[in-house]
Amino acid sequence: MATRSGLEKHYPEVFEKFEFVTVFDLLIKYIKEGRIKLDKTRFKGPVTYHDPCNYGRKAQKMFGHGYFDEPRWILSQCVENWIDLYPSKMNQICCGGGGGTLVNSYNEERIYYGRRKMDQIKATGAGMLVVPCHSCHGQFNSIKKTYGREDLEVKYLWELVADCMIV
């Protein structure tokens, strides 16, 4: 999102010369074109999914499209049994690791911030949490022990896809 807003502001001419693709659209393209084949039986679930602020709520506001449906479609190609967090999409609760908080040294505040997020995850009964964001991924692995969920497996969306690939 930082790159896209930076290019739109400072280098708008690149949008005429080059193409741009999100991680979601690229994965969907590979799956729909049959370039990768996925085995849905590898992970039994239940699995849940977290919308990062930058791909969801903020992309909706800045670019007129939040990536909510795309990751859920990809998830449905990888696992049968997944359940949404509540609330989700535009009302998703931030993981607490965004905006540079993972690297600004306010660790106590950041971990406390994640308490509601962890309640939300616990309520689904999921053993695996899928995220498409490096900051969210780092935050969840950093806070899960504090909230008694050391067993929670945190996976990148593209990691899940790679793990389900038949090669």
């Binding site: 807003s5 280098y11 709520r57 965004g98 690297v103 600004n104 306010y106 990691e159 790679a162």
Partner: protein
């Protein structure tokens, strides 16, 4: 929070942030932002108070405060704001007013490293290339990935990727997921040998000039490597 208990009326300056286009003066103090914010209550923070400080021109207090750095810029607040105030952008702008040597943690230091060396870690090019090739060799040993190599600086590739610095630091295993997918999908892709940083911490520190430099490097790669498509850095 550095704010004092008593603020004298003659210290207020409504014009101080008048030029900022975040509509902060339209705040009706309804408190929906504070109710929706996951950080409300942490160290006395809530977004409504921060917006009021801007509207009242309490510059020293708001800039010295820890609040703009406790906020994750998640924008739940502005999603519910009836006056459509750009609260997260306003917080980011407040961050930009901090002296750079007082930006907390390593965000500014990482950004400085990126501006000087092309990546937040100051990782030398030889070490970086060694790590990428080492990980590629590990993949090539897996069944189904025989012959896998990492196409560094490949001219004319379809897709240009960047690297999140933690993937060549403590999380090299996480380089492999996308690389496996590219291999299986027979994608024609590349990754730059220099200025490869995929994060842009200038977004976090409020530094627009640095943001322009960091994104400009990606534009340079697209031109020099003659790629067709940029995969947005995550």
């Amino acid at each position: 929070m550095a704010a004092r208990d008593i603020i004298h009326m003659n210290e207020l300056d409504h014009t101080r942030f008048k030029s900022w286009g975040f509509s902060q003066d339209f705040c009706v103090t309804c408190g929906l932002c504070s109710s929706s914010c996951p950080a409300t209550g942490i160290d006395g923070f809530d977004p409504r108070k921060l917006i009021r400080m801007l509207s009242l021109g309490l510059e020293n207090e708001v800039v010295a405060s820890r609040w703009p750095w406790i906020c994750t810029l998640c924008a739940k607040c502005e999603n519910v704001c009836p006056m459509e105030i750009d609260i997260a952008d306003a917080v980011r702008r407040v961050r930009s007013l901090r002296d750079r040597d007082k930006v907390p943690g390593i965000i500014h230091k990482g950004l400085e490293a990126a501006l000087e060396t092309g990546n937040n870690l100051r990782l030398p090019k030889d070490d970086y290339v060694f790590i990428l090739e080492d990980v590629a060799e590990e993949i090539a040993e897996e069944p189904g990935y025989e012959g896998f190599t990492v196409p560094i600086d490949k001219k004319g590739a379809n897709i240009l990727t960047t690297i999140h610095n933690k993937l060549v630091n403590t999380h090299t295993e996480d380089l492999k997921h996308w690389w496996r997918i590219f291999h299986a999908a027979k994608e024609d892709w590349t990754v730059p040998s220099e200025n490869w940083e995929g994060t842009n911490w200038a977004y976090f520190t409020g530094d627009d000039e640095a943001m322009k430099i960091m994104t400009g490097r990606i534009v340079d790669h697209m031109h020099k490597l003659e790629v067709k498509t940029l995969m947005w850095p995550e």
